[in-house]
């Protein structure tokens, strides 16, 4: 009786855990299924479209490179949202924090181009994370000390960041060395810190970052002295050197993976993460345990903002090497569905970011081969989000328990503990 009971409880726990994986997977499958009908209505074959989509994302080194480029910022913003959400700080402001992070990285790389590469890259990464942190300070303070809803404040901070970015990149900058009227030094934003070439054209660009500020790529690794001296003569080595797509696979995805592991560790293996999660689950109970709830919320928000800022930095240092208007549209907002489909778990975020990244990377090929428009991937994405959210309301694990307890009560087993005492 006792061992059967024990097995049964373990089985229930297993069911509950597997449902947390099954729900997003089922949601994604359902999204593909429903979108299949839309593609059919469009007059194309869903199978052909999905095959093209998949091979576009994973079928070649070039495709994989694109997938990796697309998923990297999503991992960071997904982690930002997931950590914040777990800690009771729903950060809708990853978009703005990301823009500010990107500006900081570009500014740093352009201002200090002569630093050694490793130092420059490290400091650029720090700058982007720090700027993300700065951008969440105000919402964090308002939430922790004044209890003001962070959804509103972080959302509004987005618009400030995005408009500021637009302004910085489009403003007609004053030439360096020229003083304003009366010999006044131009204020910070009027100087051309980002090296904007011609702010009046429709698509102004910042200066291209010096090579030292580019994250190392597979290509640069292969071309390094170490590799060429080791394998210089080998045929396969020369073949590998010829693959240009390696130039687009930078260190950024690897750093994203490492960050996910670090956040996993912080979340589940440190005092900081424990406090964050406790406050996120039940601030009242956390207060009873002696946790300083406002301080914990503040720390959670800062971690979240830093992660979002890093997303911008990684994109600039690893992929685009400059900023242009709309350089990373919606990567911040998309962090929310990435986190939710990833079940607010750092490793789940890795998987769901891969799903989102692959959709974007494969979309072009799908359109070229099957003439199914790119917009379909956004339909798939939106449906996956809807299904995943609908799925979370189906708390099958809790339902199982409710049913069992109700049955026990109706069978008059009202005092299970007493019965267990008798058995023990």
């Amino acid at each position: 009786m006792k061992s059967k009971n024990r097995l049964w409880i373990l089985w229930r726990e297993f069911l509950e855990r597997s449902f947390s994986i099954a729900i997003p997977v089922a949601a994604i499958m359902a999204a593909f299924l429903v979108s299949g009908f839309i593609i059919l209505a469009w007059g194309s074959s869903p199978m052909a479209a999905y095959t093209a989509l998949f091979s576009g994302a994973f079928g070649s080194i070039s495709g994989i490179a694109t997938t990796l480029q697309r998923l990297t910022p999503l991992v960071f913003t997904g982690l930002a949202v997931a950590y914040g959400y777990r800690g009771g700080f729903f950060n809708i402001g990853a978009e703005g924090q990301l823009y500010m992070g990107a500006i900081a990285a570009v500014w740093f790389a352009i201002t200090f181009p002569n630093l050694p590469s490793w130092l420059l890259i490290t400091l650029c990464i720090f700058a982007s994370g720090f700027m993300g942190l700065v951008w969440v300070l105000l919402p964090a303070y308002l939430k922790a000390k004044r209890g003001i809803n962070e959804v509103l404040t972080t959302l509004l901070m987005n618009y400030i960041a995005i408009q500021y970015f637009e302004w910085v990149i489009r403003v007609d900058h004053i030439q360096e060395g020229i003083l304003l009227f009366g010999g006044v030094e131009p204020i910070w934003t009027f100087q051309n810190w980002l090296g904007i070439k011609d702010a009046t054209q429709p698509h102004p660009k910042s200066a291209f970052l010096v090579d030292a500020a580019h994250l190392p790529t597979m290509k640069s690794l292969l071309e390094s002295n170490l590799f060429s001296s080791l394998f210089g003569g080998a045929e396969w080595y020369k073949e590998l050197l010829g693959i240009t797509a390696f130039g687009r696979i930078s260190l950024a995805p690897l750093l994203a993976l490492l960050t996910a592991l670090v956040i996993f560790f912080v979340m589940f293996k440190t005092v900081t993460g424990y406090r964050s999660r406790a406050v996120g689950i039940n601030p009242e109970a956390a207060r009873f345990m002696g946790i300083n709830v406002p301080r914990t919320l503040f720390v959670t928000a800062l971690i979240s903002g830093t992660l979002a800022g890093l997303a911008g930095g990684m994109e600039v240092l690893g992929t685009q090497h400059r900023v242009i208007p709309n350089f990373l549209v919606n990567a911040g907002f998309d962090g929310i569905p990435v986190a939710l489909i990833g079940q607010l778990h750092p490793l789940g975020v890795l998987l769901s970011a891969t799903f989102f990244g692959a959709l974007r990377a494969g979309a072009n090929k799908m359109q070229v081969i099957t003439s199914v428009p790119i917009a379909v991937v956004y339909i798939i994405q939106a449906l996956a989000i809807v299904f995943a959210i609908a799925g979370t309301t189906v708390d099958i694990g809790a339902n199982l328990k409710k049913k069992r307890l109700a049955r026990e009560v109706s069978e008059q087993k009202l005092e299970p503990a007493k019965e267990e005492v008798a058995n023990a």
Binding site: K269, I281, N282, A285, R287, K401, K402, L414
Partner: protein, 511 residues
């Protein structure tokens, strides 16, 4: 008089709880019938069954002699049953008339013509002495008037039976008088009223008959003219002592907690704790008896730094900890077992291990430089599970999957882990079955025997009598008497709980 409503053997269970156990009830036309019982006695559950919010597992409901089935509130309203909930179901930005008519067909649909409604609201109000401006918006009205709107809403729907769930809980004394006047006038005009309460003097002042519930069972139905508050208190709290706790006589040691003239407000900013003074020594359990809602919970929260003290001091082992943060108070050696383990005692979505380390996770050896040390944590959890006999298949199970008794053991294990000098235990056995109750009580005595001072807050008089060395009784925020538990007179304590007797602190001495 004719019988309006009869309940026969109503039985309602919730997961793990038997809320109503074959309850019978009979309501006559034009009477005010009190449903008296402690919190959790099953009063509201029973009425929700009548009103169609819950479906009873078994039992019959008769309305005017005919058996009826009430599946939803709409059925109950159609029969002529109205219910005023503790939390009002009003739409604040709408007017009184709009709220009254909400969900009903209007005279000139689809046009919104409120003039007829306003007139009728006005007339009904005049008839029963429920004067409200039908054009006023709800949010502008004081709570007492909002309650009238709720009653008007029911009357507008031609209610013959009005169920009021603890209507006085939100009112000032003046408003209570007003409400009683209205209710009497309603009853005079043939409307029956069920008045849910746990306040004895209200029952005596207002009601014709009273049905007492305890632990989901009906104790008795009596005429208020044939009884008194003392007898009702006895019925309400019960007094069977069914557990055998062995408690050796011990010489109390130094004073651990000293409270002087402590006052505090409740969530509605009304005085809840009024100039309370007492002390507790080592090896001593001070039981705080009292009917629920007389300031006990607020007192515990003030002591633990969760609520601001407006006056007075709290000293733990000689240190002034008045209005310190919970963490500072914990660090002085105070443990707190909150009254509601599901919401404030535990993090239900955390595992057993994560809950167990809740008081010591940031200290060596469980963590080093902010990083959790898996092995010491696993050992700590395993030894706690063993020591406190927590029945679970493993330490990584979420706490919400445990039974109530085992959940409470997790709270106990967490709170007792640091050998606290003072344990504040608020309703530590509420909702537990007999086995778990006995376990928790033995742990309290064990902690007392090993040198802790214990403040036990319980609304179960039997628990207070079994465990305490001294008993303080709280009534309306004041301590109306402190008596030694040995040889305590249960009648005397019941009377103090009902507010009809005051004694000085018989245990007071200069320490």
């Amino acid at each position: 008089m004719t019988e309006l409503l009869r309940l026969e053997k109503i039985r309602k269970t919730f997961p793990g709880v038997l809320a109503n156990d074959d309850v019978d009830l009979s309501i006559e036309q034009g009477e005010i019938h009190a449903l008296l019982g402690e919190n959790g006695a099953g009063k509201t559950t029973l009425m929700n069954c009548v009103y169609g919010l819950y479906r009873p597992d078994s039992g019959k409901i008769f309305w005017k002699g005919k058996e009826v089935s009430v599946h939803q509130a709409r059925d109950a309203i159609a029969l002529g049953i109205g219910m005023v909930h503790q939390h009002f179901m009003l739409v604040p930005p709408l007017t009184v008339a709009e709220n009254v008519v909400l969900g009903l067909p209007l005279p000139r649909e689809p046009l919104l013509d409120l003039s007829a409604v306003e007139k009728e609201v006005q007339q009904t109000g005049e008839r029963y002495g429920l004067l409200v401006n039908p054009k006023a918006q709800i949010w502008q009205l004081p709570v007492g008037v909002q309650q009238r709107v709720e009653i008007l809403k029911a009357l507008y729907r031609k209610a013959e039976l009005l169920i009021l769930d603890e209507p006085t809980a939100v009112l000032t004394p003046g408003e209570v008088e007003e409400l009683f006047k209205v209710l009497r006038s309603l009853a005079n005009q043939g409307i029956s009223i069920i008045f849910i309460t746990h306040k004895l003097e209200e029952v005596m002042a207002l009601c014709d008959r009273v049905t007492v519930l305890r632990n989901g069972r009906k104790v008795a139905t009596v005429n208020t003219s044939d009884t008194n508050t003392r007898e009702l208190a006895k019925m309400m709290v019960g007094r069977e002592v069914f557990l055998d706790i062995k408690k050796p006589d011990l010489m109390p040691g130094e004073v651990v907690l000293r409270v002087k003239n402590l006052s505090a407000l409740d969530n509605r900013e009304l005085p809840a704790v009024k100039s309370v003074s007492f002390y507790i020594r080592r090896n001593e359990i001070l039981g705080i008896a009292g009917v629920d809602g007389n300031g006990q919970t607020e007192l515990a929260e003030v002591l633990f730094g969760m609520r601001k003290a407006t006056n007075g001091t709290v000293e733990v082992l000689g240190y002034d900890v008045t209005n310190c943060s919970p963490l500072e108070i914990i660090n002085r050696g105070v443990a707190y077992i909150p009254p509601d383990r599901q919401h404030t005692g535990l993090l239900l979505d955390f595992t057993i291990t994560e809950n167990l380390i809740g008081k010591s996770y940031y200290k060596l050896p469980l963590s080093k430089n902010g990083i959790f040390q898996s092995r010491p944590i696993a050992e700590f959890a395993a030894s706690s599970i063993k020591k406190f006999d927590i029945r679970t298949p493993g330490p990584d199970l979420k706490v919400k999957l445990l039974s109530g008794g085992n959940q409470q053991k997790v709270v106990l294990a967490r709170e007792m882990s640091g050998n606290p000098a003072l344990v504040i235990a608020a309703q530590p056995t509420r909702g537990l079955d007999v086995g778990a109750t006995e376990y928790v009580r033995n742990q309290m005595v064990e902690a007392r025997n090993t040198g802790a001072a214990i403040l036990l807050i319980s609304t179960e008089l039997e628990e207070i009598l079994t465990l305490s060395d001294r008993i303080a009784v709280m009534y309306e925020g004041e301590i109306v008497g402190i008596v030694p538990a040995k040889g305590a007179d249960i009648h005397e304590i019941s009377e103090m709980m009902a507010g009809v007797l005051r004694v000085g602190d018989l245990t007071a001495m200069d320490i």
